[in-house]
């Protein structure tokens, strides 16, 4: 009798432990980029995302169906365009967000709306995605939040894609010198930005030095002096490159070693997120076709 009693007790204890661990596994707890701990009783079923890269990450983790609302800049994958649009990421329409009854709201750290939404009782997870390391971390955090078991695998696939794109390029004796112009007004992509990191992975060298920061505003004269081998630029501000003083004489412009990315391609290259492999492929294609021999 005492022996079976002890056995029973052990069984009950194990059972309780199992139940407890099950309950614990059901609840979700993460720390966002503001340092705020967000705890949810279970994985969120209704998600509002107010940053395009976060929208893409959620979909990459296979949880697109849980999105109930996005910001007006989220446009990939195409299915999210049918979702209700809640304004810009930095100043969303509070009422529209609340009316959707989300379990969690994903947004960037530099938005004022976070405090207001939290005051209204919503759970807010603020994440920053500026570099490739950020993209990896965000993938892990969101994987934890959405209780997706193997976020690591997703990241490995992305990494493999980037590696493949880099390997597809022929080896060179000296690296290509590249200038990437991010937006009108001469903002260049520095080595510490996401694009700069991609360029590093592709084995090209950036004419912008690291001490200038991630997105320095470059004097056009600097570009002429640096005389890059290849220029990458978005279509919506590539209108008149030869009108810029000194540029028509540049070797890259003369020999048409200019890659012009259209709107969709620019989106892929600029957003640090799960489409990194595709960005790497775009860049590799540009280098292969327009890079100097």
């Amino acid at each position: 009798m005492p022996k079976t009693g002890a056995k029973l007790l052990r069984l009950v204890l194990w059972g309780l432990l199992a139940l407890a661990s099950l309950a614990h596994a059901q609840g979700v707890q993460i720390t966002d980029d503001r340092g705020v701990r967000v705890a949810l009783p279970q994985a969120p079923q209704r998600i509002v995302s107010l940053l395009p890269s976060l929208t893409e990450t959620v979909c990459e983790l296979g949880q697109c169906h849980r999105l109930v609302g996005v910001d007006r800049y989220s446009n990939y994958p195409a299915s999210v365009r049918r979702l209700p649009q809640l304004g810009g990421g930095l100043d969303p329409q509070i009422e529209s967000v609340v009316a959707l009854r989300p379990d969690v709201v994903l947004m960037s750290t530099s938005s004022r709306a976070a405090a207001r939404l939290e005051a209204l009782g919503l759970k807010v997870v603020a994440l920053d995605t500026k570099t490739a390391a950020d993209a990896k971390r965000v993938l892990g955090t969101l994987g934890q939040l959405l209780s997706v078991p193997d976020a690591e695998r997703v990241w490995r696939a992305i990494e493999a894609g980037v590696g493949a794109a880099a390997q597809s390029l022929p080896p060179r004796s000296r690296p290509l010198r590249v200038y990437y112009e991010v937006s009108a007004g001469g903002y260049a992509a520095g080595p510490s930005s996401f694009i700069g990191e991609l360029m590093g992975r592709m084995g090209v060298s950036n004419i912008v030095t690291p001490d200038l920061g991630p997105f320095p505003r470059i004097n056009p004269e600097y570009v002429v002096r640096a005389n890059p081998d290849l220029i990458m630029i978005g279509a919506h501000h590539a209108s008149n490159l030869s009108a810029r003083p000194g540029w028509p004489q540049m070797r890259a412009v003369r020999d048409n070693r200019v890659c012009i990315f259209n709107r969709d391609e620019s989106d892929v290259l600029v957003r640090p997120g799960p489409r990194m492999a595709e960005a790497a492929r775009l860049m590799a294609r540009c280098i292969a076709s327009k890079g100097a021999p």
């Binding site: 304004g87 509070i94 009422e95 009854r101 709306a113 405090a115 005051a119 920061g213």
Partner: protein, 333 residues
């Protein structure tokens, strides 16, 4: 008697504001459905009581703060083009917000401190510091013209500093733009409480100092000869300006035109002494911003227009009509 007309105007403003407030709680992404559903749906009730109502009332209070500050500025500087942002309050607040955004992702120490202060606290501190800088530059409040010049200089210099910050950190550009355009979208009950407190304090002080503003109407020498304590009164009026403008800007960003237009709108209806003028300007400013907020939510629901565009459209078109009517009647303007 201007007293009777003032009373009628006050009543008209109060009634219109009440009507607009009721309309305001019915306007938004879900329209009147939220109103009917508020009885049994907690989310709809939350939308009504925690989002629409404080936002509508907050728009009124912020507009009242700006209208009050505008009337004080125009009386203090005896200049009908004066607005509450003259003494460097707007540029100070904008610079503080730019720095907050730039350092947000920076050092962890700064981030922790800034999170506690919040963007609104930073904006308020920036506004007050901007005015303080103007006072230091003008070496006190002795000469109104020097004060005005110092305010313009501070505005330009701090604006340039803000531009430098946004260039150094271009990802703050979009957030700054949102702040500069102004928005009533983030106003909750705590914000309404803070602004209401500032409005009460500012209104009492400005009403008490209304006689000083009247005395100043005939010139500073005359005001001084009437025994008015000019330096102390000017300092108090500048403090009222800083407090009211700072409180409004901190919660709603830089909404243009309300502070400039509200006193003119009041003066076009009734000509009266400053005590009544500042209070009526507050009521008019509140009505103007509240109307702009309701329209911003209504015209393209569920999308929202920037509220600053609507205040300019509403106030500006009324002033244009006024000018046209005066010219038709053969007036000077």
């Amino acid at each position: 008697m201007s007293g009777v007309r003032s009373a009628w105007l006050a009543l008209a403003l109060a009634l219109t504001a009440t009507v607009l407030a009721v309309v305001g709680i019915g306007v938004g992404s879900t329209g009147w459905a939220s109103v009917w559903g508020a009885w049994h749906d907690p989310v709809a009730a939350q939308i009504l009581w925690d989002i629409r109502l404080p936002r509508t009332l907050g728009a009124w209070v912020a507009g009242a703060l700006l209208g009050l500050a505008g009337a004080v500025a125009q009386g203090l500087f005896r200049n009908p083009l004066a607005d509450p942002y003259l003494l460097g309050s707007a540029s100070g607040a904008a610079l503080a917000v730019a720095l907050t955004l730039a350092w947000w992702g920076g050092s962890p120490f700064a981030a922790a401190w800034l999170v506690r202060l919040g963007m609104t606290g930073a904006a308020f501190a920036g506004a007050v510091l901007g005015v303080a800088l103007t006072l230091v530059l003008a070496r006190g409040v002795q000469h109104t013209l020097r004060l005005l010049l110092a305010g313009v200089i501070v505005g330009v210099v701090l604006g340039a500093a803000r531009d430098l910050v946004t260039i150094a950190q271009p990802d703050t550009l979009q957030a700054m733009q949102g702040f500069m355009l102004g928005s009533t979208g983030f106003v909750g009950w705590p914000a309404v409480g803070v602004m209401a407190g500032a409005l009460l304090a500012g209104a009492l002080a400005a009403a008490a100092l209304g006689r000083v503003l009247d005395g100043l109407a005939l010139g500073e020498a005359t005001a001084s000869s009437l025994g008015l304590p000019l330096p102390a009164a000017r300092l108090a009026l500048v403090a009222v300006l800083a407090l009211c403008t700072g409180a409004a800007v901190a919660q709603t960003g830089l909404i243009a035109f309300v502070g400039l237009a509200a006193p003119h709108l009041v003066r076009s209806i009734v000509k009266t002494t400053h005590t009544r003028l500042v209070l009526l300007s507050a009521a008019m400013g509140g009505l103007l911003l509240m109307a702009a907020d309701v329209l911003a939510r209504w015209l393209l629901a569920p999308q929202e227009l920037p509220v600053g565009v609507l205040t300019a459209a509403l106030g500006g078109s009324y002033l244009l009509w006024l000018m046209h009517r005066r010219r038709a009647a053969g007036g000077v303007l």
